[in-house]
Subunit: 251 residues, 2 copies
């Protein structure tokens, strides 16, 4: 049976991430969340608040992947240009969505719904709203492009809300084995194990703890039996080098 592979890209939109002012945490959150539901994150990009760049990068990614997730640039100020850029990309008018407006009225009260806040109720015509239980202003989806806010708490809430609707492929199972063996001593044997199991992925990540070097080997497969066999081969390799393999990351 052939594997079903579903891929995605994450696009972080924000000058503040590129200037170093803001440390992005959305890529890691979405990477973990997508991996859990069997969607493979194939690329993540950080781009500036520039309409032409947003349009070209989103267009490139939506053609290449099953899903595209953007974060950032859908607030009330002049530098929030993502919604208009996505509308332009899809050649759709940006329109006031009555349901989005209703949610903002519920939140702020009719009297406080000024023009800037109303901007957050505008979406490309025909877009599906993405719920925002944190601060009401919705994200939206057009075809395979999911447009979210940049604030991590809102990204998390939005993703939890719609992830059940994403169709994942075969989830990638992984198992980690760690040991205080030096990566350079393990490398040759690990290369042989990789050759014995060509369809599996073996990642090697060195660490340094309490004055000693060690390495974590992450084995990945969509098949549980293959995974277990390959993990045992890694354990034997470590023992052969005088190491003591433990399951999981060494923390």
């Amino acid at each position: 049976m052939s594997e079903r592979v579903v891929t995605a890209a994450v696009i972080v939109i924000g000058d503040e991430v590129l200037s170093g002012r803001t440390k992005d945490v959305n890529i890691n959150f979405l990477a973990k969340g997508l991996t859990e539901i069997g969607v493979r994150l194939r690329e993540a990009r950080v781009i500036p608040d520039d309409s032409a760049t947003i349009q070209s990068v989103v267009d490139e990614c939506r053609k290449r992947h099953d899903y595209v997730f953007t974060t950032g640039g859908i607030g009330p100020t002049h530098d929030d240009i993502t919604a208009q850029a996505i509308a332009d990309l899809f050649e759709l008018p940006l329109v006031l969505d009555p349901e989005a407006r209703r949610r903002l009225v519920d939140r702020y009260g009719e009297g406080h719904l000024n023009e800037a806040r109303l901007k957050m109720a505008h979406v490309p015509q025909g877009a599906t709203l993405i719920d925002n239980p944190v601060s009401a202003a919705p994200g939206f989806r057009v075809e395979n492009v999911f447009v979210m806010a940049g604030v991590p708490m809102i990204v998390e809430a939005m993703f939890e809300g719609f992830k059940g609707e994403l169709s994942g492929g075969d989830p990638v199972l992984s198992h980690t084995v760690s040991s205080f063996v030096m990566e350079g001593d393990l490398a040759a044997g690990l290369g042989s194990v990789q050759q014995r199991y060509p369809s599996l992925s073996f990642g090697s990540y060195p660490y340094y703890r309490g004055g000693k070097f060690g390495v974590s080997i992450v084995v990945r497969s969509t098949k549980q039996n293959e995974l277990a066999e390959a993990v045992e081969a890694v354990r034997q390799l470590i023992r052969g080098l005088g190491g003591d393999p433990i399951d999981g990351e060494r923390t």
Copy 2:
């Protein structure tokens, strides 16, 4: 006098970042470091350990920017393929560098310099070594492409070592003003300030502290006098809304 703009891209190479196992911190470190020396980070990308992808993304970025910085994939194991990919991209043979070998001998001793470790002394022919004071194995530079390890401590040490050789443009100066004013109330006025100073950048970043909403406005310019004038305009805007502007981020 026209502005001198020097741009860069950061490329993080690693399946472990895309799977969510590892939280990247190199993008933020490099973003801050580049901003400080007047180099503008225009894009950051996270890509898998795949030779064709590494080659095409590095090629695209090196043509588009003054500098490209990669992190990850130059260790001793089979999944460390960055050096070979960069050699292939530049159509150079990957060769044993005598100076790199000497550094590894100093570190590990001749008797421990197995084939896997020797791999870390191979660079594209003619490449310039990048010093690694942390763990000896060097990075390297080919034309405008700087190839570094993935371990954050090593990235930091490598960057500190060569950043003096980078030629920056006019540094972008920035000043932040924060206040407990809601972003949606400030938005219209901020848009007007942006129109009055079209060549400056005004970023608006909402926050939530101690049960209250506030917003930080980051003003950026390469000219100190313009910056000071625009910052004062933002302060007045905040006072006009009944807010109390403070300099810097509200923490």
